[in-house]
């Protein structure tokens, strides 16, 4: 091949790259290894991590939950036709990905109770950032009132990205019931943001947040837990303009925090401001039903500096995985998982109350805050030695723990955990 190009060596391909910047020595990296050795290196690393169910019973959530995942969904999502495809730019040969995304959009819209949903964003935090961007674009205001009950990592991400365009972010504190105390903000705002249930598990009053938003001429953005919506009223039905959330619970393994899935649903009012990819139905030259990415003019590759968002690569595979998982659950299974999470968390809370601990009093879904008589970190550490991830620390409250339980937790596990906590306090 080099000869065809009139070249003598691979070096010649780079002859036009200025010598002074060319790397004159080999990269200071280890030499290559067979896949067996690389796999074994990673096995070694993997053994130095505590894995859910293998090493640890996980009573920690905070945006990442240990659910039972079906093998069928895993096998289907792992098909190489999905895994090794690119963005479906050529719909004639991408109907698999496109139809799966269309089904995903439908599922998210139905769960959220919104008119439409997009084909995925990076994660829950990114989805919130994009929702706020949309609200800013739609209202012309750059002020945002966010509940302090929203996942603190999401708020921090919002603050990071908001800094670029001088977002004015005001955080409304939560009260002792772990619910938002909105106060009576006045003036104009782009968005009011509330968690549902919020980071502390509390089922916030979305209707109240809607009123606050109305008063400010703001869009209501709800950060929802999609699993909760098997039991709780859909935010769309409660007046949310935009509903976002973390889709990890919908069939994605814990994965040390990623890749996860940013869910984004909205009212058709904002259709042309929606970030990310949208898949729509159409027909082909023979009149047969087919799917295609649509409303492309919103996107960065067409609108460039005036795009609604810069997102390009997103989380398609995770969206497909979620669509498969939700279809595996089905209408009934989805409700049942939701209910079982609720049952497990409440059973856990009741066990802890029995041993004298105080649990947050507001209605909660599958996550709640418990107050210990001693520093939580010490308890977490000792429980860890006994095979339990005892929740998450609560920022600024050293004696509190944020605990969760899901449909994957057995009564035996919850009992054992509560008994061990009892011994610690």
């Amino acid at each position: 091949m080099l000869a065809d190009l009139g070249m003598g060596s691979l070096e010649d391909l780079f002859a036009h790259v200025p010598k002074e910047i060319r790397l004159q020595r080999p990269l200071a990296l280890e030499k290559g290894r067979s896949e067996f050795e690389v796999r074994e290196w990673f096995s070694g690393m993997a053994r130095r991590n505590s894995a859910a169910r293998r090493d640890l019973v996980i009573f920690a959530g905070g945006g990442a939950y240990d659910h039972d995942l079906s093998s069928a969904a895993r096998a289907l999502g792992g098909q190489s036709a999905f895994v090794t495809a690119y963005t479906p730019y050529q719909p004639e040969v991408s109907q698999g990905v496109l139809q799966a995304l269309f089904e995903y959009q439908t599922l998210v819209a139905r769960i959220f109770g919104t008119d439409v949903a997009n084909a995925s964003l990076y994660d829950g935090a990114a989805a919130l950032v994009e929702a706020v961007n949309l609200a800013v674009g739609a209202t012309g205001s750059s002020r945002v009132i966010a509940s302090g009950g929203v996942n603190p990592a999401y708020l921090e991400t919002l603050a990071t990205f908001g800094a670029g365009r001088s977002l004015e972010l005001e955080v409304a504190a939560t009260d002792e019931r772990e619910a938002t105390a909105w106060g009576a903000p006045s003036g104009q705002a782009a968005a009011v943001v509330v968690g549902y249930p919020n980071y502390f598990g509390t089922i916030e009053d979305v209707a109240e947040a809607r009123t606050v938003a109305n008063d400010l001429g703001a869009l209501l953005v709800v950060v929802a837990d999609p699993v909760a919506l098997g039991l709780l009223e859909a935010p769309g039905a409660l007046g949310a303009d935009i509903v976002v959330g973390e889709g990890q619970s919908l069939g994605i393994p814990l994965s040390f925090g990623g890749p996860y899935l940013g869910l984004f649903g909205a009212s058709t009012r904002y259709l042309r401001l929606i970030p990310g990819r949208l898949v729509g139905e159409t027909v082909d030259a023979d009149g047969r039903t087919a799917f295609v990415t649509t409303l492309r003019t919103r996107e960065q590759d067409i609108r460039r500096e005036r795009a609604t968002s810069n997102v390009c690569t997103n989380q398609t595979l995770m969206a497909i995985q979620a669509a498969i998982h939700l279809s595996w659950l089905g209408k009934e299974g989805y409700q049942e998982v939701s209910r079982r999470c609720y049952n497990a968390a409440h059973y856990l809370a009741s066990r802890l109350e029995t041993i004298g601990l105080r649990v947050s009093s507001a209605p909660f879904f599958r996550e709640f805050v418990v107050e210990l008589p001693i520093p939580a970190e010490a308890v977490r550490s000792r429980l860890f030695d006994q095979g339990f991830l005892a929740g998450l620390a609560v920022r600024g409250r050293p004696n509190h723990l944020l605990l969760t339980a899901t449909e994957a937790h057995t009564r035996e596990e919850i009992d054992r955990f509560s008994d061990l906590i009892a011994k610690e306090i």
Partner: protein, 508 residues
Amino acid sequence: MPVTGDHAGGRASSAPLVGRESEPTIFELSVPGRLAYYARSTGVPEWPASEIGAHLRREPAELPEVSERDLVAHFTRLAARNYSVDVGSYPLGSCTMKYNPKFADEVAEMEGISRVHPGTPERAIQGWLEILSSLESYICTITGMAAATLQPPAGAAGELTGLLLMKAYHRSKKRDPRKVLIPDSAHGTNPASVTLAGFEAVTVPSGPDGLVSVEALRSLIDGDIAGIMLTNPNTLGLFETKIVEILELVHGVDGLAYYDGANLNAIVGVVRPGDMGFDIVHSNLHKTFATPHGGGGPGAGPVAVAEKLVRFLPGPLVRRETGGDLRWHYPEESIGRVHGFYGNAVVLARALAFMRYLGGEGLKRMSELAVLNANWLRWRIQDSYTIPYGGVCMHEFVASASSIKKSSGVRALDIAKSLLEEGFHAPTVYFPLVVEEALMFEPTETESPQTLAGLADSLIRLAVIASENPELLAERPLRTPVRRLDEARAARKPVLTEDQRTAAPSAS
């Protein structure tokens, strides 16, 4: 004669192995009461829902009701309707669709990798921290940078992160320059990111050689320049040979230089962005380092920076304690986190697996072969297509169907669609915008000479057909799962969900 009426509410779950039947949606396959789900028996007692009375959902979400058998058939058949790298060549320019070694899938599935909660204490995630730390060091070595955040989940997120770092840098110097220079051939994410970062995108025109015009650039330089965003090789596949001069101009006004690493596949081990003078570099791990694209994601877009920017990086980073243990570390002047957790961790692990597999020499060879393949493919088709820019190209090149269009009316799009019919994926079309009827090819290093020859033969054949029977190409593709779509119809009255679909008048 018996009728199916009594058993309506679903569709047969069989479809031809091949052929062009469309697949029903999962909702069309749904039959009330059918279920794949099978719950673990936990013994956890039922808790009264009364506690959440007012919040109870009134109408259950209409999820499909299918058996596991029908679920599996549905998604297996959908997969059969999708082209992918594992099926064949995917020379999509700017996307680096290379073969992704399978062993990385097994790495990604290891229990101690995939089933780790991000809130696990540091002592119980030393393996994960080692992976992240090792990857950071590989990235820095490859790019010639001092430190990197692994959080950005894609290239565009990396761009925005990098631009916020740029902003933080200037603010730390009590400056607030507003403009970021971008070549006219830049990828759309660049200007979009610039806007989102609160800067103003200023376009730098390319010269007739496809490279940034240094003269034009010089005339745009002033004290309001926050920096420049470049990819090198640029999106025309050409190496910006004046890169040192360009970056000196920008640095001259204390601007920073951002390297869009989407094209890193051309230069690993050959030349490093840091050595060219860049201050900020994102890498698209899903391109250069072979983490599969997943139909459009997930990816990972780590951002590496020069020493002077390290203190602004998003936290947490992984750093080694004196004792040898790894810990989360939060830089003092951090711009703050840019992901809910630590980025697309499993994608990061895959990329590291790839890097360790190839090693330093293998990574260099990867880039050399990527460049060789692109040049050879270009050479093979150069008599049939316009090649707007001469000289050696890097890992990709842009051809143009403009002369074909002039003589026959056949457009770049027709060539692309006809290539699907030939069994290849299409190149990127109509990008970059600076080339008319652009066909942008990136064969990658994993395609064999035979595959490249097959691709070239197809392209040459199509050029011949264009001149002899142009109307044939407008019809293609004919044998793909669907034919050309009515995209205007999709946009005119968008049908984005099954509900809108059933509400709308039927598609056919």
